[in-house]
Point group: C2
Chain length 332, copies 2
């Protein structure tokens, strides 16, 4: 029996974000869907899109990694599993997540594909459109998924993006099984509406069979249940999974559990600068609260607070210590 | 006779900044002088300091490069000469400066030393302490210093940091000679008080013989003339160079020209987040105005405005278009 050492263990694609501004015309000229995540299949496609982007900054990212850093920033104990290469971006990713207080022991891959990167185009409205080259990140295998590490977390948190590559999908399933066998909670974020479209049937089966806590935003949950009605999608989610946490941007979130629905308002933000990481940090706040045994409404408020911090600046890693903000908000 | 194509041509060390926060105790524990720039002589020293730094973000930097990007952001025509390697940081540097509208044609070096990087530690007061590994950046040689490019600028702008390596110093002198022969103005920034200490005699000779416009802050100019009195240092600078632009952070700047001294106040800033690039952007505003034939007081106000923008966020590259800010301030 493995002892619990972590509040949350996250598994995802380890990515460095390259964030720059663009206007709506640039999205249109490249046929990009605002707010979505499209995959770039080679470095030539990365170069072509990068060339036309404005000046950028580089910040560590990756959906589950952002969440895990958020958990640590709130004062939670957190570990992360994700693959980088032995290159400059890999060193940046590893430094930043460790410097955030997260246990990160996945060895970098030598040779082969480079570390994943996402070109993130931020439009004047603050919305982000992601263009991700996965590089080495899906090459997670059994060796990285140490059962002792996964079983040492109260919750294992998995990102839906892992489903975009078969190797990562296999790792995803294995991690969920390890966690379930150890009696831990399995949490999943659906990641992206298009990602849901690509893997709908598998996600639905997985959610019914292996997921304890589901995170999704409006476009993801309606894509999952192929309906235009959020309420209908939420009703189906509540049947399929014990705890469904459904976010709706400025409209706040609805938490479905045990036949009850709890609405939590979004936290106020003076000006939305960059929405990158909003869902990731909502999950961070919620999971931190859940692991600490807080009631679901407080979990939701912690999520809203963390999401509000992240959208008020560029990048998906907190600029301010979230534990301090939580104390100031009376949530800690 | 080369036709003028640029307002300013800048030459400097091409650097990517790695910016993270730290407390004063971290500076003390590494014997770092707050506000200064120390050189790191190998990648092992970079790794040692990086390891203990908080999570960071990567943004293109380099003193003269920041200035040149500022000139372009104000609507000026600008070119830059500086050496990167054919690596990830080199690609980031080249992309960002070109995406800012600057002509940048220096070929990346293959093999050999990596692209320069500066670990920038920002303390809670917003002050930055830089730790720079120069890498390939000083390896400028005659081939990079195209006389046609240098002579195509109304002003050639050189950073004092180039003096820290012999190869770069030789390139510096050559560029100044090319500009002088073509009848162009030569502008120099002293860069750093410790840099001045290392090269005092040569800087003084150079300023008397080859410099038309000198930029220095209080610690640099007093280091140059080995006095604790700013007024005494300013008096000597006014004798040695036709146009001396001396900045004093929140106390504003004093411009010495033709026996007259013009004081220009600092522009107000709601909260100083990170002082990295303050002097670089002051020079950008001033040089843009000077190249456009504006009076010296307006040049100083353009400098104050650009410096105020840069210290209000993390990083030494403008987040907002400076031409827009200048128009809003009635300076354009």
């Amino acid at each position: 029996m493995t002892a619990i050492k972590y509040d949350v263990v996250g598994i995802g694609n380890a990515i460095v974000d390259i964030i720059g501004r663009c206007d709506d015309a640039y999205l249109a000229s490249h046929s990009l869907t605002k707010g979505g995540m499209q995959l770039l299949f080679d470095l030539a496609a990365v170069d072509a899109l990068y060339k036309g982007m404005g000046p950028a900054i580089e910040i560590s990212g990756g959906s589950a990694a952002n969440t895990i850093v958020g958990v640590a920033s709130l004062g939670g104990k957190a570990a992360y599993i994700g693959k980088v290469a032995d290159d400059e971006f890999g060193r940046i990713f590893a430094h930043d997540i460790r410097a955030s207080g997260v246990t990160y022991e996945t060895a970098p891959a030598k040779g082969g594909a480079p570390t994943a990167r996402s070109l993130i185009l931020v439009t004047p409205d603050g919305e982000r459109t992601m263009n991700t080259f996965l590089g080495v990140s899906p090459e997670l295998n059994g060796a990285e998924l140490k059962p002792d590490l996964i079983a040492a977390g109260k919750i294992v948190y998995l990102e839906g993006y892992l489903f975009d590559r078969d190797e990562a999908k296999a790792a995803f399933r294995e991690a969920a099984s390890i966690a379930a066998k150890a009696g831990r909670k399995v949490a999943l974020t659906l990641s992206d509406g298009f990602c849901v479209d690509r893997h709908r049937d598998e996600f639905r089966r997985l959610i019914k069979e292996q997921v304890d806590i589901l995170f999704a935003n409006e476009s993801e949950i309606t894509a999952l249940y192929q309906t235009t009605s959020f309420e209908e999608a939420a009703r189906q989610a509540a049947v399929d999974v014990k705890l469904a946490v459904l976010t709706r941007s400025a409209k706040g979130a609805v938490i479905h559990s045990d036949g009850k629905a709890i609405a939590v308002a979004a936290a106020p933000v003076a000006k939305v600068i960059d929405t990158t990481g909003a869902g990731d940090l909502y999950a961070a706040g919620f999971l931190f609260g859940f692991a600490a045994g807080r009631d679901l409404e407080t979990c939701g408020k912690l999520g809203s607070m963390a999401a509000a911090e992240i959208i008020s600046h560029v990048g998906a890693r907190p600029e301010q210590p979230l534990d301090k903000l939580a104390r100031e908000s009376g949530l800690l």
